[in-house]
């Protein structure tokens, strides 16, 4: 059994796939919670990229940046969930199509 070693290309592929899943999820789903989870997927795709290049260049800045991204993502989740809750209380729905107050 021959195993190909894991190269940065693999990481990048995984990351690109994950990011695409996230983007598509945001674009096609109607439930805001799902949208939110898709956004998290995109964050993690970016994190994989960061960590991969950190390992490649043996430099710890990438690792640290990833940790920051996770922290910011947590904060964003808190704010975002709060907004969702308020929205739900007003509209009694989580459908993103109902969220068109900024319509011109």
């Amino acid at each position: 059994m021959h195993f190909t070693p894991i190269t940065p290309y693999h990481y990048l592929l995984l990351s690109a796939a994950l990011f695409s899943v996230g983007v598509i999820g945001v674009m096609v789903r109607r439930n805001i919670i799902i949208l939110f989870m898709s956004i998290e997927l995109m964050f993690n795709a970016v994190n994989i990229n960061l960590v991969a290049f950190a390992a490649l260049y043996r430099h710890e800045v990438g690792q640290a940046f990833a940790v920051f991204v996770i922290a910011v993502a947590a904060a964003e989740a808190a704010v975002g969930l709060g907004i969702i809750l308020a929205f739900y209380r007003n509209k009694e729905t989580l459908n993103i199509d109902e969220m068109n107050l900024m319509k011109g």
Binding site: I96, D97, M99, N100, K103, G104
Partner: protein
């Protein structure tokens, strides 16, 4: 003596205590005690100061106290360049002021004590209010008499006017009392106008308002013997002020109406305060008035006419207090007659004696009214001497004193005035003597109608033991259950126990609004708080004449000599002294005896006239009571003229009051038409203009703003299609953009 500035302050403090705290929290006893205590301490201070002053040698008998500056010096134009108008809180105690403070505090104290019992029926707050006003009255009067310049005097002058208004209108719910208060105040204001102009004139001529400085300045000026110069104008204006305060023609109309106040107020106004202010003011400026003989002549004539006119009115009036009121006007006329002939000391002497017997008579009449449960009409009295022995005896003394029967007080002072008038002008003396005759007549008419004859008043329930009522009375008082006569003013709860003592237990007190007035058990003597002041005043009315016995009777005219420094050693007094005083050393004995003989003759004539008046009153009202009715029927015109007080009130009403009302109505019309019209017109204009302005605002300004908004709205029709507000649309665009960008970046290079 250093404490004389306390004199006005003590009653003022009493008034403040009663006025601020008393009307809410004090009982009757506390309010009365505060007021009486204030007067008592004021009297003590006055007495101490007077004794200290009398101990001084005659030429040093003046004491000045300056508390501090009042008005800072203001440069003002006078007749002699620019003067500095300044006033200080300055008081001056001299012999004249001494007499006055003793009268005000002494008689004021007795009246206060009397009022504690007389006003017992008032509600608590009203009782304290009454004593607050009484104290304030005395405070202002003391300020007036102790003032050492015109301005401080003016405060007191206005203050007594204010207090008279408050006290006469004390029963302000009674329309006539409120009207009488207003009348007193307005009439006084007319006099005050003259007084104030006189003060301005004094400053204009002398550049100062201090009495002493004015007297000194005026003594260097020539006497305005035959022309009516600036001094005469000043004196005339000041005298107009005096006529207002002292109720002389033409401003006497307020005094009889002042009877609407409670009786102690009448006593206070008529005896100790207020009406004496005018006489005092003329005496205070004796030197000034001496330099205006024409005005003195006017004063003498006005005084004599007032005395005569008031006495004639007093002959026919039936209201007991009204008779006394006209008697006061008449006696004040005497004082001005004395002042007018230059006998300021005699004027002050009469003021003093009059204060005693007039206070006595008023308080006595109050006791009678109290006994009759508010009845003031003498037609409904009679035979009261059995019921009111103390009141009867004391009022008899007062009547004898005012009638001028020797050796009571009125004899000496009135005789002095008539003597001085005789040496100046026989006509004035003759009119004065006629007035003396009438005085004796109307006073004894009052005594006869009130105390003699048969009882003519309302009857009362008969379960009274006959120990009090005489048989004659009981035979009249037959009807049962006669209600207590309407009694708005005088009847004290305090006497219920006394009734219980003298008449057995009183009826059960009815419940309801009239519950405070116990049932009336016929005329009864007043409580001791009322009789004691009467007795004290009676003693005063007997003895106070002796302080100035004329030399013809072996005396020394002590009061006149005491007062002389206050009048600046007036020339007129000097001539009279020259005519009759033995102590003018170079006098030949014969001339002295001749003048003594003349004085004796005058005295004998005066006493005869008084006796004739008494006898006539006795005959007309006791022995032959049908004569007055016949006389009135025979001369109905004369009787109605006197009964209606010469129609002076009607005349004033038809001329002055009506013209005032007419002009007020004219001004009101002007106000309603022109002023209100202008105001309303400008309001209408504002409304019209603002209507147009509103139209412009709505059409033009709002139109512009709306147009801007509308154009933005319409202009963005196409562009805003892109703004769907849907998150996913935007995201799609972003992703497409990224794809396009990447495509271009990767392949189109």
């Amino acid at each position: 003596m250093r404490l004389i500035w306390l004199l006005p302050l003590i009653p003022a403090a009493g008034a403040a205590v009663n006025g601020l705290a008393g009307v809410r929290w004090f009982g009757r006893a506390a309010a009365g005690a505060v007021a009486c205590l204030a007067m008592l301490s004021a009297f003590a201070v006055a007495l101490t100061a007077s004794i200290a002053l009398i101990r001084l040698p005659p030429e040093a008998r003046a004491y000045d106290v300056t508390l501090g500056p009042w008005l800072p010096p203001i440069p003002l134009a006078t007749a002699h360049g620019i003067g500095s108008f300044a006033a200080e809180w300055a008081f001056r105690l001299d012999p004249l002021a001494t007499v006055m403070i003793l009268v005000v505090t002494g008689i004021g104290l007795l009246i206060h004590v009397y009022a504690t019992a007389y006003m017992m029926d008032e509600p608590r707050g009203g009782y304290a209010r009454f004593f607050c006003y009484l104290n304030l009255f005395c405070a202002f009067m003391l300020l007036l008499v102790l003032a050492s310049n015109f301005l401080v005097m003016f405060i007191g002058w206005e203050g007594v006017g204010l207090c008279s208004y408050l006290l006469i209108g004390y029963w302000y719910e009674k329309g006539s009392a409120a009207t009488a208060g207003r009348k007193a105040f307005i009439t006084n204001r007319i006099g005050d106008w003259g007084f104030l102009l006189g003060v301005f004139g004094v400053f204009h001529v002398f550049g100062t308002v201090d009495f002493h400085a004015v007297a000194q300045a005026v003594s260097s000026l020539p006497v305005e013997q035959s022309h009516f110069g600036e001094l005469s104008i000043i004196c005339l204006l000041l005298f107009i002020g005096a006529t207002g305060k002292s109720a002389q023609i033409p401003l006497f109309v307020w005094l009889p109406d002042a009877m609407e106040g409670p009786t102690p107020v009448s006593a206070l106004i008529h005896a100790a305060t207020m009406v004496t202010a005018g006489v005092y003011m003329v005496g205070r400026n004796a030197v000034l008035f001496q330099h205006a003989p024409l005005v003195l002549a006017i004063i003498a004539i006005v005084g004599t006419l007032t005395a005569l006119m008031a006495a004639t009115i007093g002959l026919v009036q039936n209201d007991i207090k009204r008779v006394l009121a006209y008697s006061t006007v008449s006696q004040l006329g005497y004082m001005f007659l004395a002042a007018g002939v230059g006998a300021f000391a005699a004027s002050t002497f009469h003021l003093l004696t009059h204060a005693f017997f007039k206070a006595l008579l008023f308080l006595g009449s109050g006791a009678v009214i109290h006994a009759m449960a508010g009845e003031q009409d003498m037609q409904r009295m009679g035979g009261l001497r059995r019921f009111l022995p103390v009141t009867f005896v004391t009022m008899m003394i007062g009547a004898l004193a005012i009638a001028g029967i020797p050796p009571l007080a009125g004899f000496f002072s009135k005789d002095e005035i008539l003597l001085q008038a005789f040496s100046k002008n026989r006509a004035l003396w003759a009119l004065g003597s006629v007035t003396a005759l009438m005085t004796a007549f109307y006073m004894f008419r009052l005594v006869a109608l009130t105390f003699y004859g048969v009882y003519r008043g309302p009857s009362w329930p008969r379960h009274v033991p006959p120990a009090v009522g005489g048989p004659a009375t009981l035979s009249i008082a037959t009807a049962h259950g006669v209600r207590h006569p309407v009694d708005p003013d005088a009847h004290g709860l305090a006497h219920v126990p006394q009734h219980d003592l003298s008449h057995g237990p009183a009826h059960p007190v009815p419940i309801g609004p009239a519950a405070h007035a116990h049932e009336w058990h016929g005329p009864h003597e007043a409580p001791s708080a009322m009789t004691w002041p009467l007795m004290a005043l009676a003693v005063g009315a007997i003895v106070c004449g002796f302080i100035s016995i004329p030399p013809a009777l072996g005396g020394t005219n002590a009061l006149e000599r005491f007062l002389e420094p206050s009048f600046g050693g007036t020339p007129a007094a000097a001539t009279v002294e020259h005519a009759r005083q033995p102590r003018a050393d170079a006098e030949p004995a014969t001339a002295d005896q001749a003048s003594n003989g003349r004085e004796w003759a005058l005295m004998l004539l005066a006493v005869t006239l008084a006796g004739a008046g008494v006898a006539a009153a006795w005959r007309l009202y006791v022995t032959r009571p049908e004569i007055p009715v016949r006389l009135a029927a025979r001369w109905p015109g004369l009787h109605s003229l006197l009964w209606h007080k010469y129609f002076v009130d009607e005349f004033y009403g038809a001329t002055l009051v009506r013209s005032t009302f007419a002009s007020a109505r004219g001004l009101w019309t002007f106000d309603a038409r022109v002023v209100d019209g202008a105001v309303n017109g400008s309001g209408w204009m504002t409304r019209t203009v603002s209507w147009f302005s509103g139209i412009f605002d709505r059409v033009v300004v709002d139109g512009l703003v709306n147009f801007v908004g509308w154009s933005a709205d319409e202009g963005s029709l196409v562009v805003r299609r892109g703004q769907t507000g849907l998150l996913q649309n935007y995201l799609l665009l972003i992703v497409l953009g990224v794809c396009v960008f990447l495509t271009v970046y990767l392949f189109a290079r």
